[in-house]
Structure formats: C-alpha cells, structure tokens
Symmetry: C2
Subunit: 284 residues, 2 copies
C-alpha cells in the first residue's frame, strides 16, 4: 500500500492519540473511519469532520475495506481486540499502533496474527496532559519523535510504509529501534521521569508550598498530572526495565546524599559539572 | 530610610543577581554604585549605565555614603565581608542580601554586626541558567517570589523597607517566613529538585538518547545546567534540611518501586491520582 489519497484508514480507539491521527489523516485527504466503544467520541469526531464514518463496535464493513488499521488502544485491550476481531480484516492490510511499550506487545501480536496481514509497531512520542478525542490536536506531532520498532517478521515494505506514516503526520524525527532498545530508552527518558514527578508530588503534603514554587518545581512536576489507568499499565508492562532505571537513579541520589553528609564539596561539584556538560549536549 | 529617589544604594557582588538589582534600581531613579573584585564586571556595568560608580575593592567613600547595601555574594564571602569591612558603613544603614539559604547565615551576620546598622535578610527566588553581570536582567523578577526572613533582632521599619524593596523591583509575591521555614521550603522546592535534575543526568551516560528525549525529560533536566560553585555551597549550608528532603523522596520512590515489583496496580494508581490532584492545585 502506498500513501495515496484513496486509502481507507481505520482508527481503533478514538482518544487523544487516535483522534489526533484521525484529524491529521483526514486533512491530508485520506478516507478515515474510526471504531470506539464510546459512541459519544465517534459522534464528536463525525460532527467535527475528523472522520467519515464511525462505529461503536468492530464493524465488518469498515474493517473489511481498510487498507490500514491504526490501533490507539491500551496494550491489553489491543491484544484482546486482535484475538477477537482480526478475522474481519481483508488480506494485505497493514496494522500499526501507538503503544508506549513494545517488547511485551509486539511479539505477542505478531505471533497471534493471521499470515496474510502485517503488524508493524510504532511509538509516536507525543502527548498532552489532557486526554480524550475532544483534546485531539495534530500539532502535538510537530517536532516530536516517531519510532518504528520492527522485528524479524516485518517486511521492508511495511517498515517503509510505517516510516512514511510518521512523516506525513508531521513528526520531527523518524527513527528505527528494536523493541528492546525502545523499551530501555523509554524506561529512562519517559517512565522514570514520570515516576520522579509523581514521587515529588506524593512524598509529602506540599500544598502549603504553592506560593513559593518557582519554575524549577513546576517544570519537574508538570507531568505528575497523569492518566493513572494508562500509565500504570505502561509501567507494569515495562517493569523490569523501569525498575532497573529506578534503581540506578536511586543509587545516584544516594551517592549525592553521601557526599552532602561527608561535606564532600569537590564530589558535589564534579557531579554538577558532569550534569552541566551532558545537559549542554541536549541543548545543541 | 524611605524609598526616595535620592537614596544611595551600594550593591556588593555584581553577578547575575547583583547586576539585575542594579539595573532595576537605576531605572527607578536611585543612585546605584557597586563593588566587585572583578574590575571588568564593574566596567561593563558603568558602560551600560547600570551603575553610577563602582570599585573593585570595598571603597570607603562609596560605603560611607550608602543608605542601603545589598549583598549579592556567596554566603561564606558575605560573612567574611561583614567581618572585614562593616566599619566602613555609616550609622543607620540598612543591609539586605539575596542569599538562597537563611538559618546558617542570618543569625551569624546579625550577631557579628555593629549595633547601629541593621541586616534584614531576603531571598529573591529568581534566577537564570546563565550567570554573570552580562546576563543581568530585571525581568527575572516578574512574577517571581520574594521572601523576607526577619528574626527577633529586626525592627518593623526594616522589615517594611525590605518588603518595599521587593515590591519596587517588581516581584510578583512578597512574603515573610522565619529563616527555618524558609530553609525547609527551599530544601524541598528548589534544592531537592536540583539534586534530582543532576542525578538524572549523571546516573547513566545518556548522550545516545539525545534524539529520543521529549518535553518530559527536557523539563526535568533543564536545571541540571548548574553553577557548581554556588549550588554546592548552598547545598552544604542547608544540608540537614536537604538530606531530610532527599530521604523522604528516596523512600517514596522505593515505595513506588515496591508496588511495581509486586504488580500492585491499585497502589500505583492511588499514587498517580494523588499526584494529579495535588498538581492540579498548583495550576489554579
């Protein structure tokens, strides 16, 4: 399948991410439909023109005509959906997803999938602090990272198709990682940072400090407003990696604490010099 | 002393903060001089009109005419300066500072100070990731917090004067805390957050991840570009409080880690709900 304007695309799961995909792809001229058990979400997207058709249940006609299906579901719901409804897909359909964890889901889905359709996994690293189709906005893709995580089972054509999808959606950088590399990276840059932000808010009752918080505190806790259903699932599905990252971070904090305790000013300054030098690299 | 336009103000220490005070007060019509051992900093400020006069050593004439002296020095340098040069001040001078820690310095300074001058401590909670007079900019005071930390030795007049200083500089919120309340607060909202940012950058060699970092990681590490001389001194001067805050935070991270390990999804969701609720309070 090429990215041509008569492609029929079905989005399964019409939340913030599915809704943003729908809006972007409709604007680009594709025929976009959506399936979501929340009939109100479907009605909203139909009304504002993000989709051409919609259904609150896996609709045989919509799915039978799909050239591509994009799954924007929680990981466990994604697995169940494939088991129950994959027979509705036509041969040759490309499937992709937006799931934030990969090893635990990609191999499973590929193993259970029919031979005549192909699942190529991707992680659009974009989001907002709010959820739901009403907050959908394709601008979240601008300058964001889009990561394709193929396995041995994927064809070069599907990988190229998936990268092209990221490009037309407007992502700033398209890259390819193995599911394992992806999960290690995401455990550090995303999951550990969310754990830290949550712990900073919950480690003491800090509401009396609201008048004294400056940019630092606000920056570090912005992401502590979190969708607990989605993030607890993502954390647990990547828990081996996340726990390793947490352990490494806790050890480092303990090292800094020991330096403070020992009045080791040189040690503290070394840490600060290293952090300054590394962070400068991220600002280039 | 009232805030009238013929007041002579001397800034001791012409870095980012001292330079920003100088610029703001000169614009407001005060007669501002500065003392800094870095003759280039003085020359720069004279040239761009931030100060009327300057000296690279504690100048008897400048100090003898001062109605108010603002100390923008590192805490230890501040103590030494008072010991060595307070005899140059005229009776009735108000002294204030910008130091980021209070208990360890305020009582010391007040104890060693002459009876006929008064030190009223303040912490302007403003800053930038860059330092030096060349980066001075009074806009950093806008919407920022300004905290006056009086003790039993302070007069109501000096406290009012110090609050008025914060107001004319343009701070968004002026408040009064005891030195101990200040240090507890700052240990949490500022020092702990800087420790976390540094540890996140130093806990592993993450430069290969530069292409995958999104807003979350960048937000949490922005403050890891840090002036190691200043911050190591501030950390050590408030180490009892900072260590307590670190311990509480590490315990909380360990609790979350144990929940992950035990697949305690309800526990994780409770933490996330609490963080979301508390953070919403900070966005009001």
């Amino acid at each position: 399948m090429n990215w041509i304007s008569n492609s029929n695309i079905v989005i399964v799961g019409l939340g913030l991410m599915g809704g943003s995909y729908a809006k972007a792809l409709t604007r680009l001229g594709y025929h976009v439909s959506a399936i979501d058990r929340d009939a109100e979400a479907i009605a909203f997207a139909l009304e504002n023109g993000s989709i051409e058709r919609g259904a609150a249940t896996p609709d045989a006609e919509l799915l039978g005509r799909a050239d591509a299906v994009i799954f924007a579901l929680y990981p466990t719901a994604f697995r169940t959906w494939i088991a129950d409804h994959q027979h509705l897909l036509k041969p040759g359909t490309y499937l992709t997803d937006v799931t934030g964890v990969k090893s635990c889901i990609v191999y499973d889905i590929q193993r259970m999938l029919r031979e005549d359709v192909e699942f190529i996994a991707a992680h659009p690293m974009a989001g907002r602090e709010v959820s739901g189709v009403r907050n959908a906005d394709p601008r979240i893709f601008q300058n964001a990272n889009y990561i394709v995580t193929p396995t041995d089972r994927n064809t070069p054509e599907a990988i190229e198709w998936c990268k092209a999808l990221g490009r037309i959606l407007g992502f700033g950088r398209i890259s390819v990682l193995s599911p394992e590399e992806h999960d290690e990276m995401i455990g550090f840059v995303s999951q550990l940072t969310h754990c830290i932000a949550v712990a900073l808010m919950t480690c003491n009752d800090n509401r009396h400090l609201v008048d004294y918080t400056g940019d630092s505190f606000r920056d570090l806790t912005r992401i502590s407003r979190i969708n607990e259903t989605m993030w607890s699932e993502l954390f647990l599905l990547n828990k081996t990696e996340l726990i390793e990252q947490m352990d490494r971070f806790i050890e480092e904090l303990k090292t800094i604490r020991a330096m403070l305790d020992a009045d080791d000013r040189e040690g503290l300054m070394d840490k600060m010099r290293l952090s300054t030098e590394r962070r400068a690299y991220f600002d280039q």
